[in-house]
Symmetry: D2
Subunit: 337 residues, 4 copies
Amino acid sequence: MRFFSDNTGTASPEILAAVAEANRGLARPYGDDDWTLRLDEALSAFFGTQVRAFPVATGTAANSLALATLSPPYGAIFAHQESHIACDECGAPGFFSGGAQLALLPGQHGRLEPATFRAALAARPVDVHGVQPAALSLTQATEVGTVYGAAQIAQLCELAHGRGLRVHMDGARLANALMFLDCPPADITWRAGVDVLSFGATKNGALAAEAVVFFDRALVRDFELRRKRAGHLLSKSRYVAAQLLAYVESGIWKRNAERTNRLAQRIGRAAGAALLHPVEANEVFVKLGAERRQGLRDAGFEFYDWGAEGAGEARFVVSWDQPEADVPALCEALARV
Amino acid sequence: MRFFSDNTGTASPEILAAVAEANRGLARPYGDDDWTLRLDEALSAFFGTQVRAFPVATGTAANSLALATLSPPYGAIFAHQESHIACDECGAPGFFSGGAQLALLPGQHGRLEPATFRAALAARPVDVHGVQPAALSLTQATEVGTVYGAAQIAQLCELAHGRGLRVHMDGARLANALMFLDCPPADITWRAGVDVLSFGATKNGALAAEAVVFFDRALVRDFELRRKRAGHLLSKSRYVAAQLLAYVESGIWKRNAERTNRLAQRIGRAAGAALLHPVEANEVFVKLGAERRQGLRDAGFEFYDWGAEGAGEARFVVSWDQPEADVPALCEALARV
Amino acid sequence: MRFFSDNTGTASPEILAAVAEANRGLARPYGDDDWTLRLDEALSAFFGTQVRAFPVATGTAANSLALATLSPPYGAIFAHQESHIACDECGAPGFFSGGAQLALLPGQHGRLEPATFRAALAARPVDVHGVQPAALSLTQATEVGTVYGAAQIAQLCELAHGRGLRVHMDGARLANALMFLDCPPADITWRAGVDVLSFGATKNGALAAEAVVFFDRALVRDFELRRKRAGHLLSKSRYVAAQLLAYVESGIWKRNAERTNRLAQRIGRAAGAALLHPVEANEVFVKLGAERRQGLRDAGFEFYDWGAEGAGEARFVVSWDQPEADVPALCEALARV
Amino acid sequence: MRFFSDNTGTASPEILAAVAEANRGLARPYGDDDWTLRLDEALSAFFGTQVRAFPVATGTAANSLALATLSPPYGAIFAHQESHIACDECGAPGFFSGGAQLALLPGQHGRLEPATFRAALAARPVDVHGVQPAALSLTQATEVGTVYGAAQIAQLCELAHGRGLRVHMDGARLANALMFLDCPPADITWRAGVDVLSFGATKNGALAAEAVVFFDRALVRDFELRRKRAGHLLSKSRYVAAQLLAYVESGIWKRNAERTNRLAQRIGRAAGAALLHPVEANEVFVKLGAERRQGLRDAGFEFYDWGAEGAGEARFVVSWDQPEADVPALCEALARV
């Protein structure tokens, strides 16, 4: 029973159908095809404002290209110290930006806190000796499966904009956050102040499809050149665009996120006092200790260790196509250990 | 009738079937799945030697990641002045390598010539003032649809290795070259001295799949970290691996390349004296003049202008799924104009 | 009375004399002159082992070139969170290395602690998702004017080497550390495990001269190319080499550091309980509060604020040519406020 | 008798005197000293317009920092194929800019020609696949000792500006060009359309001093951060500023250039028909053949080989402090062989 990651999941049937449907006729390459050209419209409808949207194949590409568009090489990018861009992308933001420095901040349950961010900004001198504050990157849902409220995001964005920084949101699991908050996508993105969004579909049912969504459209040209240069402009762009269209238009973003959130909450309840963070998306972090962790593995559960060595923590992630029986089995096992 | 590029093509049914077939069950992400793990074996069989092979989604990624593995930031990468890496990747080799400099050389019909390369190497001083010769990049088939013979490749590789350079081959259209030469893949790759190959499938029937194939396996670790860092390690790696497995194992690489080569040669014959380069792959370059070029467009043919402004040249590329009637129509039109 | 920084100082007369002495005859450029060629020998004598030494004009260049030689673009460089490379070089290590990520650690009084470093290393997974531990950078004397003992350095180096990391030392104020410890240079550099040293002379009496000293000579070729490429190979290299020769051979490194350490300690004693860190070099950090800080300024003392906004901290640095009367004046003022 | 390069020269007595004169009292570091603060005014007077000027220690730094300010990472920088930035800086423009690509053009006697540049611009498509034309870099005097007239520069700048490119001038030997043309500095810089100038002093009598001069002052902030980040902001900035002040204010730029130009022309005349390029600065290129080249070496002349291996060419450069007897001796030897 695999709880490694939502990356273990397959593609939703609707996604595969959309790819097959796009597989007709000779189409102009590099995004001049009918599917890619329709993406702006579809995502503008989804977000309730005029956007420019660009498909890429990975979340790392989406995040790093967005950040490189926001930060000069001598910029500082503020982010949570456990964020994906800091820990799981092999330094991609530094690569894409030409060496921008991450300014990593702590924050309970994976969320940056306005007071911490304000203090960090205040501590930065404005002379040429330090890197220049350039961007804030927020993760929604966070790396530990919690969710920012719209007001929290707005407050962080306001602080950022007040100092001239732009705001990026890593929305690899945005669908899960939206389902948890039950709010329109606008509320936690552009309306709260987000300038560029990495809008993930891969973890929630696509084959390989993420959209970089620009609410600030002045940044688009720079992005397009960086994307090409980084090998992230797909020649047969229609296939990744078709996935994104199906993702937002068929409602699978909602259906899949609803299911994974619901199942994760069941697991969270089963974890009881061992639960490390509120379960607000499809991830559950549990403090088990080394022995019980091994016990779960012996019982056939697959998952990643988390946190510092010896902390005995574990992460369980529910995939959109998680077999139905896996979750009660895990709940029972957690209750037992 | 579209002759823009083989990128306009769809995916072969075998490719789509392979993707659908891979769409079962939760699989370990990031290349630890059964499909990706089988890639080394499948490509080792294809090339007749033990290789390490890594899937990526674009040719630009394949080329630039390979070159960054071969060249330090202060390296010189020798290539033909019309090569894809020089003209069509928005400076990707410079980006991935941290600033390596392309040393571009002329050569008739898109092919580098040993004498030119030897002279260019000889003209490089060995002191610290110039960039350091690091890699040779060959394109097979070339950017103008010609093909290197095995002996020519071997001679260029020998020159390169003799000065301590490594050799990369951009094989975006390797299948076309293999069909033209009717030789085993080994003959024009590792046996001739190629160290790393970008082995393209996208243009010849895949959705989005290229393999970076290492004949020199010492380079692999560096490559893997660069790939991750560049956002080119796909989380659901199985889908791109499945395409590559189908590509080499089902024989579509051969079937598709055979058809496009054959049709291109018909077009080439129709072009007659206006033909600019021998037709050895699936591309045809024709000197038309501005007026006849417009005439073809008015008659419903779509294609790219080529060469310098005012040269009146045109490029026609045959896709694997080019409608059968397109080619005789183009031949007739070319004969007419 | 200026206590801003030891960068406010002039050049020692011996340094100017050496520059004037080097100003004779046409000399081969780019380091092939008699002065630069003698540098290896002079610094080998100074450090008591065979070294390769290269002159550059700034500490930022010395540090970043050294680190770029030690870390791949996907490397992690461990350093104290208040180190100069982290706070005062505008992201230079990220620039020179092509995007390496700083892994910043806390540590009392500016010193990294073995336990903290060991834990940080242990927390790094070995997969491709995170940056790869590549280098440890120690600052001696530290950014807050304290000094590592030889045993502490050896312990940190051993941890680093045990995980395959190389060790860099930022010795912008190495002379001050040597005077404090009263030990041979070898003891706190190569003998303790340091692989590459930035050996500063500028702050301690040179015009503009730092040596990058390689104890691990395998790294030299890569360094030389990076130095040239970064514009840090001076064409008239003799003038910076002459400064470094005079610095180590005339004994001014010792004389100047002895004086600045001694005067700083007087200031430290005057600061009494307000002293923030032990005074072991030529810097004194004092907690004054905003009001007394202003009082000192009104009394004619010039110095930098330090620490977080509102913390009311101040830094006083003694220059090698600090007017004799400045120090008793400051001591008296500190005692008074 | 050394004719290697003008980098073999010493520093003019006026330069050393200025350094000694600046060696008084504690001065604010990093360019906030009285000398550096006066630089804008002094160079504004020199160029006859309001400029911002920044001192650095090497020509490579001046050129590459300027170019990085003008070109995005995905930019193309047009330059002569024999320019210093292309051949002698180990890829520095690619490093500083984050991977910009040099677009190298031929041109007789080291000068870019408007027709060639116009054609190269026209051949660049405006799509995302190629690097984007961003900057033109001219060398004055050129790498082969010739000089552009003011009208030629204006024509090239007009072409560049017409396509949205900015213009950089590598003026490592600007003084020699000014003496040859006998015109005000304005005529061949900002008045002709140059946006940023590397104004060299090192080759013509300084220790190590080049000014980056911005006629387009909007670029300054970006430059300042890049300079710091690259380790080219000198802490004791006064010493390099003092050199530049002395260079332009004492008239040594003129006196030294006048002498080296004059002596070079004598050598040029002695070379007769073997002369490869008109002598318009302090460099003389002669076609000698391998045997006569060796003959000159045996006779005690030191110089660099030039051009392709086997071409038998030689370069002679006159330093500002070239011993008076060297030149007649060389002339006689050249006439003899």
